[in-house]
Symmetry: C2
Subunit: 378 residues, 2 copies
């Protein structure tokens, strides 16, 4: 170990939920230096005391942590890569904490970013220091399927073969995938963060079936198979309509994207004449139960950090999203929270001054607004 020490990347893992514990444990087990941070001390006090995370499932063993802390400054100081593995609803809070202390040679990786995560992160950092160069990487999805059995013990059910990532600016994506390839060879380059943001499948699969099964979730405490019993022909039609709205926007942004139906086929080999059939034919979805209450990440994360930015990008580009907007409205009533107001919008993503698709693409590629274009009306 000792002789390779200076070559090895060091990591901070931000967030000690299921995904955060999995990534921290996995990296530590592989011999990397890992600082684990969580906002509330409550969740990490057992792990702090033990100093390690045990893995089971696809990986077995003990990952010794370098540091466990709720002090973010200590967590990220001098590490090479900051892996953000929190719900996207925490991105704004975390970006404001990280912005003043981030160093130019550190990478921030959002696992995942949902829609517009990297853009929002960068926008917040730019408010603290407009000239600071930062490289924010957005992963399209979480690498692991995992669950924490208790704090300090994680079961890893599976690891994806491929997770698309893009840097903001996109000119630095290959630099990042090169640096990280020994650790995460699964990370493969995407065109830009618009692509990782608008191939947001969770946005399609989470809020709609939850809301259209609202009565059943509350009346049975989620005692039904979420995908198999919960996605019926009518619900699949609503998902397809929302997916169509997402695709319209993605195509306007010139990113590579596929429909949910194609994604199911590509990812799981699931087939069917209708979306409902394809979902029902997805083996991995059998046995997954519904959330037990309406207080679920399927709403409080996927509505404000996925559906709202998709809808607001649509509005910005002149594309209507009536189906997505209906779900935002109903979610807002059910959670008594104005998700449109508090969700991630064009202004949060720093795109409000960019009125054309080309300006937006130019920004995500270069990471800066062409000053020559500023104020010019096309």
């Amino acid at each position: 170990m000792e002789k390779n020490f200076y070559k090895k990347l060091s990591f901070a893992v931000i967030g000690a939920g299921n995904g955060g514990q999995a990534i921290a444990g996995y990296l530590a087990l592989k011999g990397y230096s890992v600082n684990l941070y969580n906002r509330s001390i409550e969740r990490i006090k057992d792990i702090k005391q033990k100093g390690y995370i045990d893995l089971e499932g696809c990986y077995n063993g003990r990952g010794i942590l370098n540091l466990v802390t709720n002090n973010i400054e200590r967590a990220i100081r001098n590490v090479d890569v900051i892996m953000v593995v929190s719900p996207a609803s925490a991105h704004k809070f975390l970006a404001n904490k990280i912005a003043p202390i981030i160093a130019p040679n550190q990478y921030i990786v959002l696992n995942p970013g949902r829609t517009g995560g990297a853009l929002e992160f960068k926008n917040i950092i730019a408010k603290y220091n407009p000239v600071k160069e930062v490289c924010i990487i957005e992963a399209q999805t979480l690498l692991f399927a995992c669950r924490s059995l208790y704090n300090g013990k994680v079961k890893i059910f599976g690891k994806k073969n491929e997770v698309k990532v893009s840097a903001l600016p996109a000119t630095r994506t290959k630099e990042f995938t090169n640096i990280i390839k020994d650790v995460f060879p699964e990370f493969t380059p995407s065109i830009n963060v618009l692509e990782t943001s608008f191939n947001n499948i969770g946005a399609m699969l989470h809020p709609i079936p939850t809301i259209l099964n609202c009565g059943r979730i509350e009346n049975t405490h989620g005692n039904f198979q979420y995908y198999i019993d919960g996605i019926t022909p009518s619900i699949a039609r609503v998902i397809e309509e929302a997916d169509y709205e997402r695709l319209l926007i993605a195509k306007k942004l010139k990113v590579n994207t596929i429909s949910l139906m194609e994604w199911l086929n590509y990812t799981y080999g699931a087939k069917g004449n209708t979306l409902c059939e394809a979902l029902n034919n997805t083996k991995g979805y059998h046995g997954i139960f519904a959330p037990s209450t309406m207080e679920t990440r399927y709403i409080y994360e996927d509505v404000p950090q996925s559906l709202v930015p998709i809808s607001d990008m649509g509005r910005h580009l002149g594309i209507n999203t009536p189906t997505i907007d209906s779900i935002i409205q109903l979610a807002s009533i059910i959670h008594n929270t104005d998700y449109y107001r508090y969700g991630r919008k064009i202004t949060d993503m720093g795109l409000d001054r960019l009125s054309t698709v080309d300006e937006i693409i130019n920004y995500v590629v270069k990471g800066e607004i062409d000053s020559s274009n500023e104020g010019v009306v096309a």
Copy 2:
């Protein structure tokens, strides 16, 4: 019987579903002359052969019909009162059939009109003959709780103590309730058809729980109690929000209206700290099951003839109805029908030239547009 014959009103009952068979059987049992019409001959061919309807439940006996026909001209010729007891989705079709042949001394009664039924009926008749005086009565709800056991046999579970009615024009409401009082003493005068239209409780209770239980309805074929299991706290919150939108419009139209919560208390004596509790405490709702599929009147009648006219009146008056609009959008996808486009709108109700509340009220009271006001910008 013979000596009273010339005093007795004669009726046409339009529509031979549950409600139509109940009203036809009830009137015939009371000795009134009844012509029963249905658009499709299929449903009435057994009744036509027998010539009567048998009642059980609150009323027992055989009502001999004067005529059973699918010829609307024969059905309504020379009758005093035309009782329309069809789904509101048939109002447009029926109004176009009745318009050319209606006589000035005949009353048309919509049982019920849902929202804007009388206005739409009148508007269609006016297109055929702008100077023809007609009196259209809108009932707020159906008088009977009933179910046809088979064609020609109806079980009447209950009769409401009071059903609000209004004539269009409202100046003729009392004339009608006077004429009908021996037959239906339950009909009590409402201020105008805006009041019967905007106290549309079914609009609040039908589409929302159906759509927010979409998965369960399709997965279990409606095998749960609609109001008791199906209306959970989150669903009740959505209903309350839609009800609030309805109340805003009703108040702007200066009609007497009460919230759904107050209505449950007034009608059923149901109490609770929340709408959900009050619904669960409504005895009459226990044991009522959900629709077995999404192809239900709770959507295909209540969305286009209740929610759409409420929403479009809101738009006309500058009141937003985002919750109601969300439900219209989801219903439209689920039924693959653009309900907003095909539903009852301000133009269908003949109100498009009336831009102020006072103009609208003046019209529903007098049944005509003040020509002195036309073209005047307020």
